[in-house]
């Protein structure tokens, strides 16, 4: 029976995820919100497919957070971590201290006892690592300065949980019975110095094992050539770290992060990443569902205004603190807003800490229940707030600022040719033109590349070519042509649209990545489209034909004929495609397309071009005459 219910539970969770996450994504709400909605709907408040055990599942699913931090660690070079040290300690430290102080102060002023106020302050100062990082990742904001700052703060918060757990029993005073959950920890029966030693020992164990044990172990596993053993090893590593950390009473998420950082430079890094990734994704999803399910609507309905007021008040307070800090740490306005919006929520550690305060009698049961609801609602609000930021606030600020916090360069040359994008594609074109005495004004959005080229003496201007003002500054009004060779199809389309709208006289020569991009560019009326791999693949084809014994000239001509034929077919397909545009990206559609192209390749006539060199008809005629004469 138990098994059945486990299977049934799994089915409910998975089905809910599969139904609601794509729906949420389709509506532009993002995956995290989708999971939360799924949780609310299958939870006890609505459908009741899952009941009170939601909280147990949450504890289990918190392991997803552990895995996420392991993955973050493994993707993080220790050098980067070192570079972030000031923002982790400074920004993170100030955020926790100031938020905790502000919340505790207000709680005290409205009549809570001092120790309860302090506990509340500490609990509510934390933000949700899972939801914030997942949402930032999903929107591609991790690389922005706000993303980096948020990451630093979250990292500090994870560290801060440890002293908080240590302080709570002190706050509770003698009245508190020994915390049951905590009693299993190895540290408890040790004196102060012993505790420190145990903690240091645990951290050292992770570092040493990561450095010296993992590599030989992975090598042995690799030799067995049993694929799933790798997965097992990777999981074992993360689980072992979590167990060790629990044993000494530290945050397992933090331990996993440390383990990840230690392994960041190992050659098995990608292996580990790809093994853990799916587990992380599923468990995090489970976690978000559990958060959704744990929202107690009955409780909320009893005191809707009080609870909503608490949510809004706490988040507003945290946001104000964050905005101040962002200002001090010199974030630009839009980045600062993103930073504040992202971290204004209350994190999943609050659930742990709340149950802990309940055990230590720091808070009453009612209050714990109410605060749990507040925490869950604030977490559920985070993706919504981020959505609000993305749709309403961000558009007011220029795009380039969000992508990288660098101002566009001043441009002081005017050329007939402007090249947007100087990567492997544009640089070839640019070099060729330069070799032929044509100077081009070059724009690129990769600041590292701009600097590197600058050091080589090549003038490349940093800036987003899809901005009107930058194109104007690059002399688009007087230029003859714009060569668009950016890496991203979306950006290419943006630039084309801006150029067509404001500089219609410009000849556009546009790089396209694949057939779909080509179609989109055709729809925009672009005449000169260059599919990026076509020429190279045909050159391979020509060489292959030659090596197989076909005459060089014939091979070249065949390639050119094939190319023309292909362009023609593509134009034909583009016309056909107009009726059913929305399906074009599906795989089946792409295969259909390929099939049509291949069928058109079979048209025999193109092989027989060059009739003038092969006067078979003439030969027949002459031979006919001969037989006539005879």
């Amino acid at each position: 029976m138990d098994q059945h219910s486990l299977l049934f539970q799994s089915m409910v969770y998975l089905a809910a995820a599969i139904v609601f996450v794509p729906l949420a994504k389709k509506m532009g709400l993002g995956a995290v919100l989708g999971y939360l909605i799924a949780g609310i709907i299958i939870g006890p408040s609505l459908l009741g497919f899952i009941g009170r055990e939601g909280e147990d599942i949450m504890h289990f699913a918190e392991f997803g957070v552990v895995m996420m931090l392991f993955l973050i660690g493994i993707e993080l070079e220790p050098a980067l971590l070192w570079r972030l040290r000031s923002s982790i300690l400074g920004l993170g430290g100030l955020q926790v201290v100031l938020s905790a102080a502000a919340i505790a102060g207000i709680a005290f002023l409205i009549g809570q006892p001092l120790n309860t106020s302090l506990a509340l302050g500490m609990i509510l100062s934390l933000s949700s690592t899972a939801i914030v990082l997942q949402t930032l990742n999903e929107k591609g904001w991790m690389g922005t300065s706000a993303g980096q700052s948020a990451f630093s703060v979250l990292l500090f918060q994870d560290i801060a949980v440890i002293p908080m757990l240590a302080i709570f029993p002190l706050l509770a005073g003698n009245a508190a019975p020994e915390a049951t959950a905590h009693a299993t920890s190895l540290r408890d029966n040790l004196p102060g110095w012993g505790q420190t030693l145990v903690v240091l020992g645990a951290v050292a164990t992770i570092i040493i094992a990561g450095r010296y044990l993992v590599r030989p172990l992975m090598r042995i596993i690799a030799r067995t050539r049993v694929r799933e053993l790798f997965t097992a090893t990777a999981l074992l590593m993360v689980v072992a770290i979590a167990v060790l950390m629990n044993l000494v009473g530290l945050s397992s998420a933090l331990g996993a992060f440390l383990g990840g950082v230690v392994l960041a430079n190992s050659e098995y890094r990608h292996e580990l990443e790809s093994d853990i990734e799916p587990f992380k994704g599923l468990l995090l999803g489970l976690f978000f569902i559990a958060v959704g399910a744990s929202i107690d609507f009955k409780l909320i309905m009893e005191q809707p205004w009080l609870i909503m007021g608490l949510v809004v008040g706490i988040m507003a307070l945290k946001a104000i603190v964050l905005l101040m800090l962002g200002k001090i740490f010199k974030l630009s306005t839009d980045q600062n807003l993103l930073f504040a919006f992202a971290l204004a929520d209350i994190g999943e550690f609050a659930f742990v800490l709340l149950s802990f305060t309940h055990q230590t009698r720091l808070m009453s049961e009612e209050m714990t229940a109410m605060m749990t609801a507040v925490v869950a609602i604030s977490m559920a609000m985070t993706p919504l707030i981020m959505l609000l930021y993305e749709k309403v606030i961000q558009p007011h600020y220029t795009r380039s600022e969000v992508k990288a916090e660098r101002e566009a360069d001043e441009i002081n040359e005017k050329n007939a040719v402007i090249i947007a994008g100087f990567g492997r594609f544009g640089s070839m074109t640019g070099r060729f033109l330069r070799a032929n005495g044509i100077n081009a004004t070059i724009l690129d959005l990769d600041s590292d590349r701009v600097d590197a080229l600058h050091n080589l003496g090549i003038k490349v201007y940093y800036g987003d070519a899809s901005r009107y003002d930058l194109l104007a500054a690059a002399g688009a009004a007087d230029a003859k042509m714009l060569i668009i060779a950016t890496d991203h199809a979306e950006q290419t389309l943006e630039i084309v649209k801006i150029a067509q709208r404001y500089f219609p006289h410009l000849q556009l020569l546009v790089r396209a990545e694949n057939n779909e991009d080509t179609f989109e560019l055709m729809d925009l009326g672009v005449l000169h489209i260059y599919r990026e791999t076509v020429d190279t693949s045909l050159r391979v084809g020509v060489d292959a034909l030659r090596m197989l014994g076909t005459r060089a000239y014939h091979s070249e001509r065949a390639a050119r004929t094939f190319f023309r034929q292909d362009e023609r077919s593509l134009k034909g397909l583009s016309a056909l495609r107009d009726d059913k545009k929305q399906y074009i990206s599906s795989m089946k559609e792409r295969i259909d397309e390929m099939e049509k192209l291949i069928t058109s390749d079979k048209i025999k006539t193109w092989v027989d071009e060059g009739q003038g060199w092969d006067p078979e008809t003439l030969r027949d005629e002459i031979r006919g005459e001969k037989s006539d004469e005879a």
């Binding site: 076909t550 005459r551 060089a552 000239y553 014939h554 091979s555 070249e556 060059g610 003038g612 060199w613 092969d614 006067p615 003439l618 030969r619 002459i622 031979r623 001969k626």
Partner: protein, 200 residues
């Protein structure tokens, strides 16, 4: 030993009956250099230095090609335009080719009779080859008689193979200096060389 160079040009050899047979022979004669222009330069982008060097290294130079429209395939014109540079091949200082022999090995659809004053084309093959003859003269070379395969449209495989064997003999004898080369410009067709008494 005379050094013989054949500059070959056929844009569609895979369809050719005549030249594919000739190549079976001329490609493998020791001491005769075979230079396949379309194979070397499928994009018509001729390496002038290489071609000039080849010319300098040889005494007798043939252009082998089908006789398209009373002339040669496009790459031969491109080759002449680019390789026979002023100051190298002709002009006051252009003496690089002095004393060499130049000629064509060509296949023509019409019969020998059709290439005569009273024939279908109204002119001899030498009349049509005038640009080559005069080019040779300007470049201080002697124009030798062309090796012409007439009426190839009517020829069967065995006829062509016979011509190929003749061509082989001519080339070998030229290579081995078996002829007195002074009468060469006077011949109507180079295969007549085979009827001349061999030098000892």
């Amino acid at each position: 030993m005379a050094r013989v160079l054949i500059n070959f040009a056929h844009p569609a050899l895979e369809k050719s009956r005549v030249h594919s047979q000739l190549l079976r022979v001329v490609k493998h004669i020791p001491g005769v250099t075979f230079n396949d222009l379309y194979e070397q330069y499928p994009d018509l982008d001729i390496n002038v230095a290489r071609e000039q060097q080849l010319l300098e290294q040889h005494d007798i130079i043939f252009m082998q090609h089908p006789f398209y429209w009373y002339s040669a395939p496009a790459i031969v014109k491109q080759w002449m335009d680019l390789v026979l540079e002023h100051g190298w091949a002709y002009g006051h200082k252009g003496k690089a080719l002095t004393g060499k022999y130049f000629s064509n090995i060509i296949s023509a659809g019409g019969s020998e009779h059709s290439y005569s004053l009273e024939g279908h084309h109204g002119h001899t093959i030498h009349d049509f080859l005038l640009p080559f003859i005069q080019t040779a003269k300007l470049c201080n070379m002697q124009y030798a008689a062309p090796f012409v395969l007439y009426g190839v449209h009517r020829q069967d495989l065995s006829d062509i193979q016979e011509d190929a064997a003749q061509l082989k003999q001519v080339l070998e004898r030229l290579r081995d200096d078996k002829f007195d080369l002074t009468p060469l410009p006077g011949l109507a067709n180079l295969n007549q060389l085979l009827q001349l008494p061999a030098q000892t």
